[in-house]
């Protein structure tokens, strides 16, 4: 059973990527929708298996750790696999209707989409520093290709900027991997962690961790390394922006978080943990402020991503030299933030795409009057905004509540200010869009009506983000499942 699930999970995306290379856009769409069905069923099956039996290590093809690729299938990984399945199928469904099938280069959308998906699964399940690098590169290269599908010079400029930033980040990470391997002689994160519990920490091995985390922070667009993100996410097609903001930046953050949680205690120090937290806070404030000042609708959403990513980096100070319970609270808060931001931001980008399609311009002030013509998409946008503003009962609220408690209990009250200011500023940029759309403008009553299914998809995602707050207990309980250590390296 597990064999089939794992094979389905890892093999389908690659097989579908090759299959869709052979077809045009319209046939690729049919093939893809079949593949999405398989992928969702497999992800759900794996999630249920882990929720019932607990996590396990899985040696791919029967080859074990030093030679083969070993995967770590735990509660957190399968939760993210399922999240990817939900968000990517929504984006794939939306893209099939949204993207114009007549432009010849759009046929490359499906292969890139599937390569991206396989890279994401590889990162969630990977346990070995080098395979994580390969997964990351697969994600970056397909994401850059997806951005470049816009076809215009501005899209190419954004994708080149994105590519250079991503490559620099990967090389910094790889240099860290090289130093780690030179020092510890193993590539498994768990192996390095257990080596460190038995030996004294060698001098200078913090440098390798710092290099890796700096590279990953560049790929996650942590302030002040965020300049590549808004042009790339703003100019890509809406389903692509949704995929990039919801999932791609989370992959590099996930690796950074796993490294920090396993190796941060021996290799890190208090100053660097607080520094990362400070950069995250700066991202929250600066990103939200810039989001309030953008003239283009999708730039507002893209800068909002910069801000929401900032919250994630509060993980570093809130888990360094604090008690077990505070650290657990912070980890749960961050996980909920990742999930709720992924759902809410995908919903927001898809809804923004519908609004832009409807008014025929990407400017915020062109939205005037759209509230009467496209109330449904605007409502989805607002519901997603509720989660970003972290009002109850949304997933964003549950996440920030846990972070708030973790900050207070560890005595780091200054992060509470960041959470409050960030919430207020996000309310400001969401209401700015609403204000623009409720204005009545006398000259424009030419609106294009997008297909009904285009409007339904963001609504589903926004409702999921909103409902996450109600089921957060159950979601968190699967992530905290005991991990079966037998057969571990």
């Amino acid at each position: 059973m597990t064999l089939w699930l794992m094979a389905g999970l890892l093999f389908t995306p690659l097989a579908w990527a090759v299959l869709t290379l052979l077809t045009d856009f319209a046939r690729g769409r049919l093939v893809t929708w079949g593949g999405i069905l398989v992928q969702v069923l497999v992800s759900l099956g794996l999630w249920l298996t882990v929720a019932r039996d607990g996590g396990f290590y899985y040696g791919l093809g029967g080859w074990d750790a030093p030679l083969g690729i070993e995967l770590r299938v735990d509660g957190l990984a399968v939760t993210f696999v399922l999240l990817t399945a939900v968000v990517a199928s929504a984006c794939g469904w939306h893209a099939g209707i949204y993207i114009d099938p007549d432009k010849p280069w759009h046929r490359y959308f499906w292969p890139l989409f599937w390569f991206l998906w396989s890279g994401l699964n590889a990162v969630w399940l990977g346990d070995d520093l080098f395979n994580l690098y390969v997964g990351l590169e697969l994600i970056s290269l397909s994401a850059v290709g997806l951005v470049a599908l816009g076809g215009k010079a501005s899209a190419l400029r954004a994708s080149l900027r994105y590519l250079l930033a991503a490559l620099l980040g990967s090389l910094a990470y790889l240099l860290g991997v090289a130093l780690m391997y030179g020092q510890f002689g193993t590539l498994s994160i768990a192996g390095i962690a257990s080596w460190l519990t038995e030996h004294p920490v060698p001098a200078g091995s913090g440098l390798a961790l710092a290099l890796m985390i700096a590279g990953l922070a560049l790929k996650t667009a942590l302030f002040p390394l965020h300049q590549w993100l808004p042009p790339a996410h703003g100019i890509a097609k809406s389903p692509v922006s949704a995929l990039l903001s919801a999932l791609v930046v989370k992959a590099s953050f996930y690796i950074a978080a796993r490294l920090w949680l396993e190796l941060g205690e021996p290799l890190g120090n208090l100053v660097s943990a607080q520094l990362v937290g400070l950069l995250g806070s700066a991202a929250v404030v600066w990103g939200s402020w810039l989001a309030c000042r953008q003239l283009q609708l999708k730039q507002v959403v893209a800068y909002s991503s910069v801000a929401q990513i900032g919250y994630l980096f509060l993980l570093f100070p809130l888990t360094y030299s604090v008690s077990e319970s505070v650290s657990l609270q912070a980890q749960q808060g961050i996980t909920l933030q990742v999930i709720s931001h992924a759902l809410a931001k995908a919903a927001m980008f898809l809804a923004a795409g519908n609004l832009i399609l409807s008014v025929g311009s990407s400017r915020v002030d062109a939205l005037a009057g759209v509230s009467r013509f496209l109330p449904f998409s605007l409502f989805s946008f607002g519901l997603a905004g509720v989660s970003l503003m972290s009002l109850p009962p949304s997933g964003g609220f549950a996440a920030k509540w846990l972070l708030l408690q973790a900050s207070l209990e560890s005595g780091q009250w200054w992060w509470v200010l960041v959470l409050l200011v960030g919430g207020l500023l996000s309310a400001a940029y969401v209401f700015r869009i609403f204000r623009a759309s409720f204005l009545e403008s006398p000259e424009s009553d030419q609106f294009y009506h997008p297909a009904r299914s285009l409007e339904v998809i963001p609504m589903i995602l926004a409702l999921l983000a909103l409902g996450l707050g109600l089921v957060s207990e159950q979601v968190l309980s699967v992530m905290a499942l005991p991990f079966e250590v037998e057969g571990s390296p």
């Binding site: 690098y133 470049a148 010079a153 190419l156 994708s159 080149l160 620099l168 090389l171 090289a178």
Partner: protein, 106 residues
């Protein structure tokens, strides 16, 4: 100075040169070459450093082979994008409109 350490230091130097080029040069092809130099530096560190048990360690060599494949894929993608960008805009750098308009196609 031992041989592994020498390899690692040369690798680190190549990384530094590549990083400088990637950040300071404006022509996109030069940036790409700088990326490749930086990549070679990383590979040198990766192969050179873990030789401390006397013999050679096969694992990093396998890793570097994979790394080279990834670097070639990234370089190919970058060249395609740069070429297309040049055809559409006549520019060879990402900075403002004023720089490098040397004889782009009409």
């Amino acid at each position: 100075m031992t041989a592994p350490l020498l390899y690692a230091l040369v690798g680190a130097m190549l990384c530094g040169i590549g990083l400088f080029g990637l950040l300071r040069l404006s022509h996109l092809l030069r940036k790409l070459l700088a990326f490749n130099i930086m990549g070679s530096g990383v590979f040198l560190v990766m192969v050179g450093l873990p030789q401390h048990q006397g013999g050679q360690d096969p694992v990093p060599q396998a890793l570097v082979l994979t790394g080279i494949v990834v670097a070639i894929a990234a370089t190919a993608l970058a060249i395609v994008l740069i070429r297309r960008y040049y055809h559409l805009s006549g520019m060879t750098s990402l900075e403002g409109e004023t720089t490098s308009r040397e004889g782009g196609p009409e």
